[in-house]
Amino acid sequence: MHIVVCIKQVPDSAQIRIHPVTNTIMRQGVPAIINPYDLFSLEEALRIKDRTGARVTVLTMGPPMAENSLRKALSFGADAAVLLTDRKFAGSDTLATSYALTSAIRKLAEEEPVDIVFCGKQTVDGDTAQVGPGIATRLGLQQLTYISSIDSVDTQAREIVVHRRSEGGVQVLKTALPCMITMLEGTNSIRFGSMDDMFRAARTPLRVWSKDDAAADETKVGLKGSPTVVSKVFVPKPKAEKAKFIEAEGGTADAFAAAAVEAIFAAQPKLSTDLLARAAQG
């Protein structure tokens, strides 16, 4: 059994800052991480590997520095890693990205047929949730999105049973392999690899593929292959206000509480009258 897990290296959105003057995203110094949603899919793939002895290949498209994310995936226990990198891929939207990844998966399938493709539910930088379904459509795979658990994988009958969250309830679905799965967040937590995995991750040579290695058509990748147009980018006004230190004489809890309430009312005068009105109503 062969599983391909598609991951993406993204800037850690929790640490992104907006330049106070130019209002642009400051990429400098923002750590790159594996898209957090991808880790739920990677862990699920590794669990299937534990149960069935499947081979897990991680695949990413990105700049050369995306190597770090692949090595990290290897350190969790993945068997092999492919980095799809080419200047021609720059500027790809989700349509072009799903095409490029599909080309690479087809290449991988030539070596060993692919039974399951795992993708993250969405990325934290683009948030479209389009690439996984795009790959499934191109490869003609059964599509299992928003999966909360994988109940069984039958390698003989080539069937898989899963729980899927849907509007208004949970679906229990059975389908034939091959399929494409995106996992819901919070369904598992990524493992802590062994020392052997760490050594392997540090030493395994990565397979670095160009557009040609993946046999991708130049007109379908990068800006040329991307019909999406970004018409406007703007920064929403931040809602959070600056923290304020509250001092209280005597330093007792009551004094602090009173000072805190006073500070809140000072900042939101309406709140005080509202509360008084409500109290009057009983």
């Binding site: 800052r17 106070p20 003057v21 690899g193 020392m195 760490m198 540090a202």
Partner: protein, 433 residues
């Protein structure tokens, strides 16, 4: 199968990086283990980087090392309640091709250094905590155990560069627990600010930087110092005091930092800046007398873990890099001669340290920590009386100068008594000789 290396370096700070790089460059099979997510993830430094020691390890580091600004001006300030008295030294001669001091954002430097180690052939594994040393029947260290499954790894020698807590050496019984009076707790903030404002407020050009070292009332009588550094597009401001003082005192560190930021002479410098990062770390400040055993059979300790920090001159990372390099060179020399890393052979590491500025400087200031710890007047009464004297002297108000001199002398005597003044002078002089 248990992996075996020529050397294992624990930690990816300045001392660990210096050791790992020197070993890898020397052709040894070296493994560096770091508990943080990436090198530098757990590391905190003010920070000023002194070029000389890094230059010895990577001579052309200036080509791509991500430093912030090179320092052209040093200020030393003694803060009163609403004033400062101080000295400046600024020179255009610091604008050379090979500046001596740089402000840095530490995590950037550690990442850069680690890249160099990997290029030199060192194997680096992060997110892996070394939990203990492994010893054979004779007590010789033969490797380490990590927190991962199958975590046993062997090596001919282990260099512990695991930072101020030195947990490994402590667990192995090579070091006693840290004493609160030998460790400072420092807190700092990185404040984002328009570089143009830095240039204007400090009177510098884009690449030029200013360092302000601060003592005085702001530490509320505790033994401690503060600092303000100019980075490329941020300011680093911090303050630290001995843990024993924080323990006894009524002021938590964050409050002390807030008070520093609100001080009338500091506030205009940081006005309009936005806090980007808050960090806290311990600093070994026990000096020469707190230096632990530095080597043993199959092991050495370097950097903060060896208590190598010159608090009086705010030097730490250069001592760390130098000691890491010396530990590595000791191993390289033994390997070249085909000799094992026994305690007797590793004594060469101590000999190198003794001959270097590390031990010479720390020895010179060996009495300073106890003098400052036991004489809090240097952090409370003196800043007041000195600032008041300056205020008096520079106020032109028809009082004759002789009377002013008398008033100023009187204020010193009133505060400390003649005997006290003489005693303090002797103590200070003795502590730095």
């Amino acid at each position: 199968m248990v992996e075996k290396f020529d050397a294992i370096v624990v930690g990816a700070g300045p001392s660990g990086n210096a050791a790992a790089y020197t070993l890898a460059k020397g052709g040894l099979n070296v493994l560096q283990l770091e508990r943080g997510e990436y090198p530098g993830a757990k590391n905190v430094q003010g920070g000023i980087m002194y070029a000389a020691e890094l230059e010895k390890i990577i001579p052309d580091f200036r080509d791509d090392c991500p430093t912030e600004r090179h320092i052209i001006e040093q200020r030393v300030w003694l803060l009163g309640d609403d004033s400062y008295i101080g000295t400046n030294y600024r020179s255009d001669a610091f604008n050379t091709d090979r500046p001596n001091r740089y402000t840095i954002i530490r995590a950037n430097i550690d990442k850069w250094f680690s890249e160099k180690i990997r290029e030199a052939g060192g194997l680096q594994i992060c997110e892996t905590t070394v939990t203990e040393l492994i010893r054979d029947g004779s007590g010789k260290v033969i490797g380490v155990r990590t927190d991962r499954e199958g975590g046993e790894i062997h090596a001919d020698v282990v260099i512990m560069a695991d930072g101020v807590n030195a947990l490994l050496a402590k667990r192995a019984g090579y070091q006693p627990e840290l004493q609160p009076q030998n460790v400072a707790l420092a807190v700092k903030e990185i404040l984002f600010i328009d570089p143009e404002l830095i240039q204007q407020r400090f009177g510098v050009k884009e690449e030029e930087g200013v360092v302000i070292e601060i003592m005085g009332k702001v530490t509320k009588g505790m033994a401690g110092t503060a600092f303000l550094y100019t980075n490329k597009e941020s300011l680093t401001i911090g303050i630290g005091c001995l843990i024993s003082d924080f323990k006894a005192g009524q002021c938590p560190p964050y409050k002390m930092l807030e008070d520093l930021k609100a001080h009338p002479v500091i506030k205009p410098l940081i006005d309009g800046a936005e806090m980007k990062e808050y960090a806290a770390h311990m600093i070994p400040e026990g000096g020469y007398k707190a230096i632990p055993q530095l080597y043993g059979p199959g092991w050495m300790v370097a950097g903060d873990a060896a208590h190598f920090n010159n608090a009086a001159h705010r030097e730490g990372s250069n001592l760390a890099m130098a000691s890491g390099r010396m530990a590595a060179e000791t191993v390289l020399e033994l390997k070249a001669k085909g000799q094992p890393c026994t305690a007797a052979n590793l004594a060469a590491y101590k000999a190198k340290l003794d001959q270097s500025f590390i031990m010479k400087d720390l020895k010179k200031y060996r009495n300073l920590p106890s003098v400052l710890h036991g004489n809090k007047q240097f952090f409370s009464e003196y800043p007041d009386v000195i600032n008041a004297a300056a205020h008096n002297w520079f106020t032109v108000d028809s009082v004759d100068k002789k009377t002013k001199e008398k008033q100023i002398m009187g204020s010193f005597v009133k505060t400390r008594s003649v005997l006290g003044l003489v005693g303090d002078a002797i103590k200070l002089v003795r502590s730095v000789r």
